[in-house]
């Protein structure tokens, strides 16, 4: 019992800390890639305290609910967007031998199912704001989720098929280096579909500022807005952690897997998070029709081909 509580405290700490680190890294990486400095003075070293200052600013702001909004749904939406990512983190293993808060038998499906619930938060926000830009954003969020959920589940199923188990611990346990070429297509599809589900650039059509201001979050301010932003960064952490566990061998590194497993996991998550930020800086936003086309004419067929390849090789070498 004490062990479980300790693990849950660790998960909560990771949930509080890692998204902020990703957020800070995004400020700095974007600044350097675009040849500008960004905030450099707060806190002294490279402006590290700017994030804290931003947090204080958000907390001080007035809590505004538009007059015509649906109050309950409007207030509930940030929580619905954020909490699912916390739940997913509890099943992600960071090291071998029980270094996971909850070892579920069907961990892959738990993670994917709960991640999908988070998107309902954005849809709720889009509807409840009583604002046409927010509503358009909400529609785009829903359309995007429906197209990209399918390839994401297919790609994750491919990793589960290769391992012969649905447990996230079990999948990492079965992972070998030759999964990298074998599951490469699945890994790319999973990562891309995950980015789309998180509405990260280049898939940020739902929050396209040049057309619909900030999509579902247009009417939000203060702490509730901060919660949505936090949910986005928590989503990046969760997506990178799931990609690491399913396709990149989780805690398996070049040496000392048992002792340093958690470190390998964190390094892989950090590298993937860097790639997420990198993609934001380098790619322009995709149009709605391009988004849908990418999902249905590329990702779905590719993930089906990956499933077939996994099945054939699994039977051939079983």
């Amino acid at each position: 019992m004490l062990e479980i509580i300790g693990k849950l405290v660790l998960v909560a700490a990771a949930f509080a800390l890692l998204p902020l680190l990703v957020g800070q890294a995004e400020h700095k990486v974007m600044a350097h890639m675009q040849g500008r400095l960004g905030p450099m003075y707060a806190g002294g070293f490279h402006g590290w305290a700017q994030l804290v200052a931003d947090g204080v600013k958000f907390a001080q702001k007035e809590d505004v609910v538009p007059r015509d909004a649906d109050r309950w749904v409007f207030k509930l939406a940030p929580g619905v967007a954020l909490v699912p990512y916390l739940l997913v983190l509890t099943v992600v293993p960071i090291g071998p031998g029980g270094q996971v808060a909850l070892d579920l038998g069907a961990g892959v499906f738990f993670a994917l199912a709960v991640m999908g619930v988070g998107v309902i938060g954005a849809i709720m926000a889009g509807w409840a704001s009583a604002n046409k830009y927010a509503l358009l954003g909400g529609i785009r969020v829903a359309a995007q989720l429906m197209s990209y959920e399918l390839p994401m589940v297919f790609a994750a199923s491919s990793a589960a098929m290769a391992a012969g188990t649905l447990s996230l611990q079990g999948i990492v346990g079965e992972w070998r280096w030759w999964w990298l070429p074998w599951q490469a297509v699945g890994a790319v599809v999973f990562f891309v579909a995950g980015l789309a589900e998180l509405r990260r650039p280049p898939f940020d059509m739902p929050v396209a500022d040049s057309e619909i201001i900030f999509g579902p979050y247009t009417e939000y301010g203060g702490l509730r807005f901060a919660l949505f932003i936090l949910a986005e960064y928590a989503g990046i952490v969760v997506l990178c952690a799931l990609t690491t566990v399913l396709f990149l061998g989780g805690w398996k590194g070049p040496f000392l897997n048992t002792e340093l497993g958690w470190l390998w996991t964190l390094i892989k998550v950090a590298v993937l998070a860097f790639c997420v930020i990198w993609l934001r800086v380098s790619y322009p936003r995709m149009r709605e029709d391009q988004l849908q086309k990418l999902a249905w004419t590329w990702l779905v067929p590719l993930s089906l081909a990956q499933l077939a390849l996994t099945g054939v090789l699994k039977v051939a070498f079983a």
Partner: protein, 178 residues
Amino acid sequence: MSGQEIVFTLLGVVAVGSGIMVVTTRRLVHAALWLVLSFGALAGGYVVLTAEFVAWVQVLIYVGAVVVLLLFGIMLTRAPIGDSADLDSGNRWAAAAVAAATAAVLVTVMVMGFRDERMPLRAGGGSAGELGASVFRTWVLPFEVLSVLLLASLVGAIVLSRTGIGPGRGPGSGEGDG
């Protein structure tokens, strides 16, 4: 009552209560959101009965896909904020009678079939492995028949949504294409 039974009963109350809210609320989007709660409670019930895999698939498909599709449809057409007066139908009593009769039939079947029989819960009894084994060994024929049904509805959806199918309409329609 054991702890499991108490949790199961509470989840059942939530599922039925939110189900009633779905059909009685006067706000269209609220109905879809109450449905989320109802499906969630149902998934919780599956977990209590050790059917872990069914529970997560329930959340993935019904909450993650069906409700999102519903919300998408509502938002695409009207998305009214506040009460909708036209949500009340004159058929409400007939609908209530049909619902009560269906519930009565289901409850009668359950009572007649099982009486007060009790089945012990086995940890892992509803795991993905057990489920796969029984679906693809014992129940493989019904499973395949279901897939034909799904295929038929897929074809039906395409026929309904595509315009320009049929004789003499649209650019690509020649003789004999169906």
